[in-house]
Structure formats: C-alpha cells, structure tokens
Amino acid sequence: MIVSLYQMQKFLFDLNRDATVQQRFRTDLPGLLDGYELTAQERGALEARDIGLIYVLGANGQLLMHYAAFLGMPWADYLAAMRDGVTKHGPVRAGVYTMTTGTDEKVAGI
C-alpha cells in the first residue's frame, strides 16, 4: 500500500531545486532521507537511485526526469530504466505518468 508517495515526491522536489540539498545528497544521503517519512521500499529505491522502481511507485514523471538529469543519466538510459522498472515490478501504481506503450516499443527510436 502506498502511504508516503507524497513524501518521496517532496524529497525529489527539494533535491531538484535546492543546491544545499544536492550537496547533502552527495555527502549524507541516509541523513537527508531521515527527514522524510518514507516506506522502506521508497527509501531503498532512493538509496539505490533506482529510477525504474521510483517510476513504478508513482513519482510524478517531471520530478523523476529532473532527478535523472541531476544523476547525469543519458536520455536513452533513463527511458530504458523506466521500462525495466515496469518489466520487473509491474505497472505504475499511482499518478498520471503511467506507461501506455509496450516495454519493447521505442516511439522516439530509443
């Protein structure tokens, strides 16, 4: 059951826009995550930088896209990570950024 999707998204929101949060992400991620009420699964996904699972858990795609950019992921790898997440964990569980194409369908060629 999703109980804290809001908190996971709030973490991504803070990270994407705040240089001090970004600095702490690099030096003390566990301590940074302590400030958010996350499920164990969400916390694990964030600690592992698991784009696929974060996507499936229902994070807003725009938050996730900026996060992937922050991590320096190439565009094709980011799209592949989301597809892999759906393959591994099943359909997106919340929100309006669900996948409508097949896992082997590459509409933009990548």
Binding site: Y6, Q9, K10, F13, N16, R17, N60, G61, Q62, L63, L64, M65, H66, A69, F70, G72, W75, L79, M82, R83, V86, V96, Y97, T98, M99, T100, T101, T103, K106, V107, A108, G109, I110
Partner: protein, 273 residues
Amino acid sequence: MTLVFAGIGSHGPGITGRADMADPAVREPFYQAYRGMAERLAAARPDALIVVAAEHFANFFMNNMPAFAVGMADSYRGPIEDPQWLGIPRTEVPGDAALSQRLIREIMQSVDVAFSEEWKFDHGIMVPLNFLTPNYDLPVIPVNINCQGPPLTPLHRAWAFGAAVRRAADSVPQRIAVIGTGGISHWPATPDSGRINEAWDREFLNRWVHNDQQALLSYTDEETYRDAGQGGFEIRTFITIAAAAKGRGELLHYAPIPIFAVGCTVGVMNVAT
C-alpha cells in the same frame, strides 16, 4: 498601454537538450519558425513579456499548489535543471516587480492568483526564452497554471484568467507581450516519450486559430488524458492566450518531432478588441 503581442510555443526540454539527436531537416524549420516569432515579438516593441507556462515543480508543489501564480520580482534565475542536460546555461533573467504588482492587482479583480517574489525558471520558460530573447534583455513576468498536480485548474478558469491578463495589460502604460508555452498532445517523462497524437493536435490548433472559445473549453481532462496524455493538460496555457488576445491565430509551425517528445508548435495571434 495595451497588449501588443500574443503567441504560443512548445517548451519540451528535448528541444534544446536533445538538439543533436534530431534530424536537422525537421529540427531547423522549427527553430527557424521560433526565430521568426522572435522577430515579430521584437517588432511589437514590448516593454515586458508575460510567459504563461506550465511549470514542472520548479517552484510549486503539492504542499501549497496555486491554480494560478504570477511572479513579482526584479530578477529571476534559471534553468533549475542541469544546464548541460537542458542545453541552456544558467543565467539571470530580468523581471519588473513594480509592473508585476500592478498587473496582479488588476488580475485579482476577477481571478484569485498567488504571487511569488522568488521564482526559479525551468524548461517551461527557459526553452522559449532561448529562442525569443536569447540575450535575456526583455523583462519577463512568469506565470504558472497548474497543469501538473491534480486537481488541475479548470479550462474555463484558464480562459477567465486570460481575459483578466488582457484587462490588466490594457491598464498599464507599458507595452505588454504575452506568450503561452506548453505541449499539445504528448506523453513526456514516461517511456512513451515521443508518442504524439498529430490528429488531436491539429484539431486543437484549428480551434485555437479560430479562437473558438466553446470548442476550446469543451475538452474534459479524462478525454485529454486518454487522447493527448498527461502532457495534453498544458493546453491551458494556449487557451489563456486565446482569451487574452481575442483575435485569430496564425500557425507558424507544427510538426511532430518524437525525439523532442512533442508536436513542435509556434503560433501567433493578432490582438483584437
């Protein structure tokens, strides 16, 4: 003075960030159309540019999400995204706090808006500015309509907001330009990125060009989500421009460019009374 310019344009981050992945034969005519819009904007000699954008959680989040927000600062910074990823260097963009305040006071006579004395621009504003005012020498007044975190701003309120923007622009001594930025149908930031419903886009743009208020406001969010993806919610920004300009639109460019994740659109609308 009055509203002196109105236009619309796409803002997908791939437009600048993934430029090298696009076929130059489809990319360049789109860029050229955007530059053509820039020339028309300059010819209108605006004192300030209102950018009605659909932002993506650069400033506003579900802890306190306004249906409408207007910037009220003398300068802004952007992009918040990794500059290399977006293909646009970090920069300072001039604003005009006094003008913002005057416009906001008038807009508030008919539409409740939030105001913000700090605002970080994301691709929703930076990508259009990159083409329209690449030297960042025109004061910008940022506007956000909530197209991201449901419950979304109703379409008819976006229309009412556009009418209020027009009334406000006509009430100040400055020459005001306004643009709306967003996608039409698209499925951005999903594995479907690149999916575009061209028929739906062309139908929407036809309604926009004819400034058919009733047809523009007849979409339900359920229909839009089904046919045009969550990116289609950004039609609110184009609807606002139609309400503000009141004229007939001219489509300068439309072409689906999947690697840019959107049907790339540039349009202007004559300002009618």
